[in-house]
């Protein structure tokens, strides 16, 4: 793979990651949001694959394949099953409306570019220049967790955060050591499982759909 193809493939994949992050903020349909998440997971896996091919790093290629499977298919499927169990289909009234959210997400992207300068300067590769996209994805994910009311949206937000960090990790360090990477992925998977269980229980036992209803514990 030559340098130009590599760079453009990397840029396309990373761009897709952040684009999917924007899509999750833009769409109200939860199903669409989960679909965007799946696309993002695949794009993330592609980033790892491209990096692995470029560096001829077998471990990284394996990791990329795993990411595609886990984040592109397994996790979105798990999240979708929450939707199947509980009747929530649309994020009807987020705390911040969609246009403002998108503007906010844009601002967060700028913030990400501004604040990752030392990191970009240190990495100084073509992949390194894309690191701000990962941080931006993280921030957007965090932001959507703050403003979205549905349990599924929050799970998706958390996964966005995670994908953003994974993107940073791939771009900056070509992945952390395998042991850590495996542990981290397993943990993410388990968190999603846990969240799914909780969301289903909250709905089936207490009919809680909106997280605003979770205000029993307070001072």
């Amino acid at each position: 793979m030559n340098g130009a193809t590599y760079s453009s493939l990397l840029e396309i994949a990373a761009g897709l990651v952040i684009l999917c992050a924007f899509v999750t903020l833009w769409r109200r349909s939860l199903l669409a949001i989960v679909r965007a998440l799946a696309v993002q997971g695949i794009a993330l896996g592609v980033v790892a694959l491209v990096l692995g091919l470029h560096r001829r790093d077998v471990v990284l290629i394996v990791v990329g394949c795993l990411v595609v499977v886990a984040k592109g298919f397994a996790i979105p499927t798990l999240v979708r099953r929450v939707l199947a169990n509980a009747p929530m289909s649309r994020e009807t009234s987020p705390l911040v409306n969609v246009p403002s959210s998108l503007v906010g997400a844009g601002a967060l992207t700028f913030l990400a570019y501004g604040t990752t300068r030392p990191v970009v300067a240190l990495v100084s590769t073509s992949a390194g220049r894309l690191i701000p996209l990962g941080v931006a994805t993280l921030l957007i994910g965090f932001f959507s967790m703050v403003v979205r009311r549905k349990a599924v949206s929050q799970i998706v937000g958390l996964l966005l955060v995670d994908n953003g960090i994974a993107l940073v990790a791939f771009l900056a360090t070509a992945g952390v050591p395998l042991l850590v990477e495996l542990g981290a992925s397993l943990d993410v998977l388990l968190v999603v499982v846990v969240l799914r269980v909780l969301a289903v229980q909250l709905w089936s036992k207490f009919a809680v759909l909106d997280l605003d209803q979770l205000q029993e514990l307070h001072d």
Binding site: L158, I165, Q201, V208
Partner: protein, 486 residues
């Protein structure tokens, strides 16, 4: 190898418990495994206190004085909590609130929780530390939600969501540290081994390390319960079963803080102490302020204890900010003292909840007159937690303050003293409502079962003993402090 056995025993106990139905002796088996952990901790401490660290699996597991100390902390408080779990589960089964199947689940999860914490403190690799801390989040989520009430589920949702975000930030921080280490200069063998990070710490890129440390403080700070990411803590601690609250408040928070201490040592090598000092002072004072504000009109005694944890985590953050060997030794002493006292209080409050049926401060009255022993334990626990002698928290607080003033953070010491005085006043006032007063006519004084009271009194005596006697902890504390202070 001992470190591996240390991990293996609770894990194996968990497997055994999973294979068997819950029975009383299974509970005692679990207790015995914690006893083993405690003993192993002591053995490890004697092995490493004056000698180099032990390591296994090419450094994935590594035990130095600091780790050994934390193993002791986990062992001591875990022993207390697990032994009280037996009574907790029996009462729950007897009252029909839980089944033997779920009791088995509980036992397994607790053993897994302990194993994860032990892994976090004996891991030599910061990545493995991260994995272990995240594992504790997942396991404790089920434990927090164990009672499956609406409140418990709500608490676990908040817990897992907030902590996952936090821990994700910590992962980003770890990645950045790794990045900085990759670029630390040619010829360095790069890994996430803490020792190798320490060896290159002076060559790490300051810009990236600043970002990394800030993210780590924010991220692990979530698990520690430092403001502004403390918000899950009162909910989770008040909803979890009492032994689990004891474990979470007494050990889990400080295990996360242990990881922060390790990273602080790395970052201080790259940045000097000024930056980490600024960060820790900020979160420490913020935590104290939040705890002071929210304790003032607290209505729930379990939440009161939870906010008290936020306060103490703030205090140890301030101690760590001072960063001198004395300060770190005091921080570690505080970790142990706070763990014991907080575990005792959570277990006692579990008992109070059991007999009074409420967690409202207003609804609990005249405990000292009505239940002298239980009330006495609660009162002494509060005394310990408020930092009065002879309990060890007094000495650790005193020495942390000394260290703070010594490094020129006199104003921090002054502000924290003011906030602590406010906290003292409000806790005193809540304690007054719960403890004092006359027994209603015709009501007899209740005796609490000795299975509850004896271990708790023992723990309080222990907390007092480590406060009064310098031997044998003094050497270990100083050795452990020297691990993270250069």
């Amino acid at each position: 190898m001992l470190a591996f056995v240390l991990l293996l025993v609770p894990a194996a106990t968990g497997c055994v418990a999973a294979a068997l139905e819950w029975r009383r002796w299974v509970g005692w088996l679990c207790t015995a495994s914690l006893g083993f952990v405690l003993v192993t901790g002591v053995v490890l401490a004697t092995l490493v206190v004056h000698r180099p660290a032990l390591s296994a699996f090419s450094g994935v597991l590594r035990v130095d004085a600091l780790s050994a100390f934390m193993v002791i902390v986990i062992g001591a408080i875990g022993l207390l909590a697990v032994c009280q779990s037996v009574r907790y589960l029996e009462r729950e089964i007897a009252s029909g609130r839980t089944s033997t199947r779920r009791a088995t689940l509980y036992a397994v999860l607790v053993q897994g929780f302990i194993t994860a914490m032990l892994l976090a403190v004996v891991a030599g690799n910061v990545g493995v530390m991260w994995v272990a801390v995240e594992a504790t989040t997942i396991i404790t989520t089920f434990l927090v939600g164990y009672r499956r009430t609406r409140g418990a589920l709500e608490a676990s949702w908040k817990y897992v969501i907030i902590c996952s975000v936090g821990i994700a930030l910590a992962f980003l921080g770890t990645v950045l540290v790794y990045l900085a280490a990759l670029h630390a200069g040619p010829g360095t063998h790069v890994s996430l081994q803490w020792t190798s990070l320490m060896s290159v710490s002076h060559h790490l890129d300051p810009g990236v390390m600043r970002l990394a440390l800030a993210l780590l403080v924010l991220g692990y700070g979530t698990k520690v319960g430092l403001a502004p990411m403390h918000s899950w803590l009162p909910d989770a601690h008040s909803q979890a079963p009492a032994p689990v609250s004891a474990l979470m408040s007494g050990v889990l928070l400080t295990v996360a803080f242990y990881v922060l201490l390790r990273f602080k040592a790395v970052a201080d090598g790259a940045l000097g102490v000024g930056f980490s000092q600024m960060l820790f002072v900020t979160v420490g004072l913020l935590s104290l302020a939040v705890a002071a504000s929210l304790l003032l009109s607290q209505r729930d005694y379990k939440r009161m204890l939870a906010y008290h944890s936020v306060e103490h985590m703030g205090l140890i953050a301030l101690g760590a900010a001072a960063g001198t060997p004395l300060a770190i030794a005091a921080v570690l002493l505080h970790v142990l003292g706070h763990g014991l006292a907080k575990a005792v209080l959570f277990l006692a409050s579990g008992e109070i909840l059991l007999v009074e049926g409420t967690t409202e401060i207003d609804q609990v009255k005249a405990l000292l007159a009505r239940r002298p022993v239980l009330g006495g334990i609660f009162a002494f626990g509060l005394v310990a937690l408020l930092g009065l002698p002879p309990f060890s928290l007094f000495f650790s607080e005193l020495n942390m303050l000394r260290a703070e003033v010594h490094v020129g953070l006199g104003w921090v010491a002054a502000v924290s003293l003011v906030l602590m005085a406010v906290i003292f006043g409000s806790v005193m006032s809540h304690g007054r409502h719960m403890l004092f007063g006359a027994r209603p006519d015709g009501e007899l004084a209740h005796q609490s079962p000795s299975i509850v009271t004896v271990p708790l009194i023992g723990a309080l005596v222990g907390c007092g003993a480590i406060g009064v006697l310098a031997w044998p902890l003094d050497t270990l504390l100083r050795a452990a402090a020297m691990v993270v202070v250069k």
